[in-house]
Assembly symmetry: C2
Homo-oligomer: 470 residues x 2
Amino acid sequence: MTKGKQSTLKAFFEPRSVAVFGSMREPQGEGLTVIRNMLNFGFAGSIYPISRSAIQASGLKAYPAVSNVKGLIDLAIVVTPPPTVLSIIDECGRKGIKAAIVATEGFAETGPDGVRLQRQLVETARRYGMRLLGPNTLGVLSTDYGLVTAPYSMDHNKPLSGGISYCSQTGFLTFGVHPIKDIGYPISKICDFGNKCDVNELDILPYLADDPTTKVICMHLEDVKDGQRFIEVARQAVARKPVLILKPGRSEAGARAASSHTGSLAGDDQVYENAFKQAGVIRLKTWREFWDIPKALTLQPLPKGNRIAIVTATGGAGVMLSDAAAEFNLVPATFSAATRSQLGRLSPRLGNNPVDVGPMMSVRESPFSVYEDVVPAILSDPNVDCLTAVCHLGPPIVKVFTGLAPTISRISKPVTILGYGINLSEMQESVRQMEALGLPTYLDLETAVKALEVGAAYSRIRARLAEDAR
Amino acid sequence: MTKGKQSTLKAFFEPRSVAVFGSMREPQGEGLTVIRNMLNFGFAGSIYPISRSAIQASGLKAYPAVSNVKGLIDLAIVVTPPPTVLSIIDECGRKGIKAAIVATEGFAETGPDGVRLQRQLVETARRYGMRLLGPNTLGVLSTDYGLVTAPYSMDHNKPLSGGISYCSQTGFLTFGVHPIKDIGYPISKICDFGNKCDVNELDILPYLADDPTTKVICMHLEDVKDGQRFIEVARQAVARKPVLILKPGRSEAGARAASSHTGSLAGDDQVYENAFKQAGVIRLKTWREFWDIPKALTLQPLPKGNRIAIVTATGGAGVMLSDAAAEFNLVPATFSAATRSQLGRLSPRLGNNPVDVGPMMSVRESPFSVYEDVVPAILSDPNVDCLTAVCHLGPPIVKVFTGLAPTISRISKPVTILGYGINLSEMQESVRQMEALGLPTYLDLETAVKALEVGAAYSRIRARLAEDAR
């Protein structure tokens, strides 16, 4: 990874100016949609609509060709029909643009003709030292820059700004197919690799490892372009931030499907498994993990060990969480004598882990105040590395944790919440409020502890890498 | 299981008259709450509030003692403080009541004194031939009878009437801690075993197997009272309906937690695993499976084999679903020549499984009409046993499947939907609408295929049991 390459990557996520190529005619014109999205997201740089026919687009002056633009352009976004793309890339090269996103479909994914056209695209871009993302991509999203390049309306889906950056080799795991705004998913950067003709994981990993707003890197990959190089690059990223990868194609059927989807030659899954291990990459197994695990890593500190405490308003959940914790290599914390006697003073039935606060709640005037007594006491115990609290979601618990959040933050051990309730929209509102307090909140039981295990695993990996580096 | 016992069980779920013991004083009085819930749910039988002080409760005449009631009483619901329960059970016994739900907490779960009190309760009930559910239980819910016995307000949570019946040994998996109404979970009966002092899985299984509205039986058990008897009883139920059981305590930590939660002596997990296998019970592993799998079994027919077709608007989802299918022992269907040529006429790029309809959608005026052409063609293929369709949720897809539903139903092979979108509340509304059409719809990728696998597994089990019976 040369310095030059890395600064080019910056142009994809932090451009000061963009040229947009795509239909500006009817309201649904794809070029117009890209521009409208960026204006809605608050893009602060210059936007240059390029159109032979339009004089203006969304109130911005349009230019017949990119050569008519006087200023420098960092990034080109291309959403024109396949036969026009090659000459546009050439035009951009002559203008000195060093980064282009080709959203257009109809290249290598369609057959031999598309493969040829895609190869010509890459050759043209190389001649000008230009980097290409795509083709067949939704492009990028960068919350802090108000940048979004998807050629369909993003009106409803401007996400929360936060520490998760993620890349994907399928639109299915990027910004158009998941309610990232409604679930309050805290995002720094998103990148859809599309056909991955040029920019790939080898470029993105160092860029995101350097990026100060990215706290955790999450990737979906159907293949890896250069295994040996990947291990080196990923290892360097892992030394700085957790890198989580969902790599399908574990099964023969999955590998075959991947091959017909992106032309990936997936190869033996064991090879990937070994490469990820060597690099210190944490492999995710399910779609739910992809969406749910990263938020715990960005919102909470890492656990120093794998001893978990469970505080629950319902004994049954404690049992199931204990099973899940064991499956994920977490061990139940044995409380210190001091903690046991402190809990014992609250109720003679407390002291064991899981801590079932249900009976105490049913005799208190303010049932939820139990958490105020129990959570800080347990979290401070030197025998406890992390904690999952099972809570009935709603305004009372949000109020209690609003008070507890500074204490939890001071103790600096990770906490996850498993939430339950009977009113779905009220539950979802509570999840957003709890996460605004920095407390990752799950409606899925097993994930609440799995998220802590991934943190513990990353702590071990980082220690190992530091050891290796000495 | 004697006939007599079974008809007593009927009194718990289908009572014609109930007596309610519990505070009728302030609006939050637990007895009053039970009565209000039942009136809200539309209970059609007689309700007799029993109170020494109140003259009426929620507009109903109250009685100082159950002996003052002239008519027959099928079921007593008791939510009074622990010291009062024993004499109430005695009073009910003398009145000839054959079924009582003791919601009250403070028995065996609290220590030796509670154990003693609970034993006396059982002895008293036995003397009168009365069956007891609980103590420490939320009791039962029976949608078709408007029966609900939880002593807290159920205003928001009257569930949809449907084919799932489920029992649990924790309140966490019963009706007060999951948004069963909001998610449109189709319920026939619910039962919380509580401390399981008398009525247990051995009673419920035959009752639910006989119950005409129950299509699938789903249970959470922390222990099984009589292993040998359980295998016989469960096997008889399995011969008629799928029985799914979530049994925590797989790990040592989980088993220890279960023991302190319900006093369950969980025993070696392998013993349970073997018993479930012998009985043909399908073991669920996660909380999500408990809630998500049964709806596919109640809404859709069983697959005759394990050959799955995947139709997807996004190639990336097809790859991940292929992996999940392989993990769950489903094999990708190889389409017949006729199907392949039919698909080929729609687009030269179709014909493989997963069927990626994304590219076709982007060139059609009504993109979603693709499903109308593709789904019936594939589902009719004799080489296909079941199908998962990946769809962008919203009014257009609901419209398409409203048209397709009769065809899917006629072909009589199970279909699940994996839904995605960017607007969470619109997605959840679509889920409810699709399920009202009989199409189980998931927002969780892996579960959409796991649900089909459970159906295929049950088909195999039923065939094996029929074989054994010959």
